[in-house]
């Protein structure tokens, strides 16, 4: 039982609420991806081989981590999954963008795009997200310790 607004909240009700929230978040993210894909990224898929596969794998793992994070809300594990999400973004970007220099070959034509600057900013933002998760975890533990002391 968990106290909420002075009233106890049952665990099944809590789980249903979290599942609903996670589902809605997942649908929202997939909808956002769907709009981005159909409006902007679909024409690029003709040039970049396996772009859809790369984007969908990323989205699937991201949504999975987000859903697990949502289920573990209110526990220390929530911050673990947030940190995992930030690390996953860094790793996935580094691997899928091959260090920032992307080269594509179509017949006799070689297209080279230098995305190192974009990658640098994306990595820095992910590190900011990681630091936020670490700070949240510290804050959570501090509050828990304070409650235990009182």
């Amino acid at each position: 039982m968990v106290e909420k607004n002075g009233k106890p909240e049952s665990i099944p009700r809590q789980l249903v609420f979290r599942a609903l929230k996670a589902t809605l978040k997942g649908i929202f993210f997939y909808f956002l991806y769907f709009i981005l894909w159909t409006m902007f990224l679909a024409p690029l898929a003709l040039i970049v081989p396996n772009l859809q596969g790369i984007a969908e794998t990323f989205l699937a793992v991201y949504i999975l981590l987000m859903v697990i994070g949502e289920f573990t809300h209110g526990t220390i594990f929530q911050y673990f999954f947030d940190a995992a999400k930030a690390l996953f973004i860094i790793g996935y970007l580094l691997l899928s963008l091959k260090g920032g220099i992307v080269s594509l070959t179509y017949q006799e034509i070689i297209l080279t795009v230098d995305l190192r600057l974009f990658l640098m900013f994306a990595t820095l933002l992910s590190l900011l997200g990681l630091s936020k998760s670490v700070l949240q975890a510290i804050n959570y533990l501090t509050q828990k310790t304070e409650h235990a002391t009182i």
Binding site: L36, L41, I109, V113, L117, F118, L125, L128, L135, Q136
Partner: protein, 260 residues
């Protein structure tokens, strides 16, 4: 601490939205970038170099300016010998602007014929053209498109053949020598100029020389003769000819051909 964490979260979200929307709009604006290549111009400059000039009009209707627009061309022969190289750079193409750049490549035909390992005067061949177009989308994201093309080289004096010298008496000391010449002009340009022939005997002594003018349109055969007087006392059954080709586009020689 909660406020700081919340501020980091808000800042991160805004920066992510800004980064992703900037990146997508920058990539998307490439579709509003139009290239229009006009008819290439070809000619001969003051240094007797053949030039190819390609006018390119770039229309930037995208959301951002384009930086460091560059076209580069490198022409190599089959053995990797560099025949020509040039780059054309436009520092900035602002959004909504039209810019015309002339990409010019100059080839010194005389240098090509004299310095390369293959005799391109008489042999058809293929040249490798390495072309690249580069630019910085939104002056931040560098993009390059490169390709390799093979272009045929047509020899200006393809299948150059010197017939057996024919001698006819002129007087007691000299005779008239007639040397038939034939070739096909496979080059992309018309040929006109002079062929000079110096005839040497087997003791390397000059026995006579003569020249003829020619005018051969591209992809046309030529059959002609060179007539000149030679000293009968110095003439031997065997020897060699030194042949010089003098045209506005190329000077080549000596090409040594033995006779007898």
């Amino acid at each position: 601490m909660k406020t700081s964490i919340r501020m980091i979260g808000i800042a991160t979200t805004f920066l992510w939205i800004f980064l992703i929307s900037f990146f997508i709009s920058a990539v998307y604006s490439v579709k509003d970038l139009h290239f229009n290549m006009s008819e290439p111009q070809m000619g001969v400059n003051q240094n007797n170099e053949v030039y190819f000039s390609l006018p390119i009009t770039i229309t930037n209707n995208g959301f951002y300016s384009i930086g460091s627009f560059m076209i580069s061309t490198k022409i190599l022969d089959e053995n990797g010998f560099q025949i020509a190289e040039n780059s054309t750079v436009v520092p900035v193409i602002r959004k909504g602007e039209n810019t015309t750049a002339f990409h010019t490549v100059m080839v010194n035909i005389s240098d090509l014929l004299q310095n390369s390992q293959v005799n391109y005067l008489v042999n058809d061949s293929e040249f490798l053209v390495k072309a690249a177009i580069g630019m910085s989308i939104a002056q931040i994201i560098p993009v390059q498109v490169a390709t390799n093309l093979t272009v045929p080289w047509g020899a200006p004096f393809y299948n150059l053949t010197f017939g057996t010298p024919q001698y006819s008496d002129f007087n007691t000391t000299h005779c008239i020598t007639t040397i038939p010449i034939s070739f096909e002009n496979h080059a992309f340009f018309d040929l006109n100029g002079t062929i000079q022939i110096k005839m040497y005997n087997d003791s390397d002594l000059l026995v006579g020389s003569g020249e003829t003018t020619f005018e051969v349109p591209q992809h046309s055969p030529y059959n002609g003769i060179v007539e000149f007087y030679v000293s009968t006392t110095d003439l031997t059954e065997t020897g060699y000819l030194e042949v010089y080709f003098l045209t506005p586009l190329l000077d080549y020689g000596p090409l040594v051909v033995s006779y007898g």
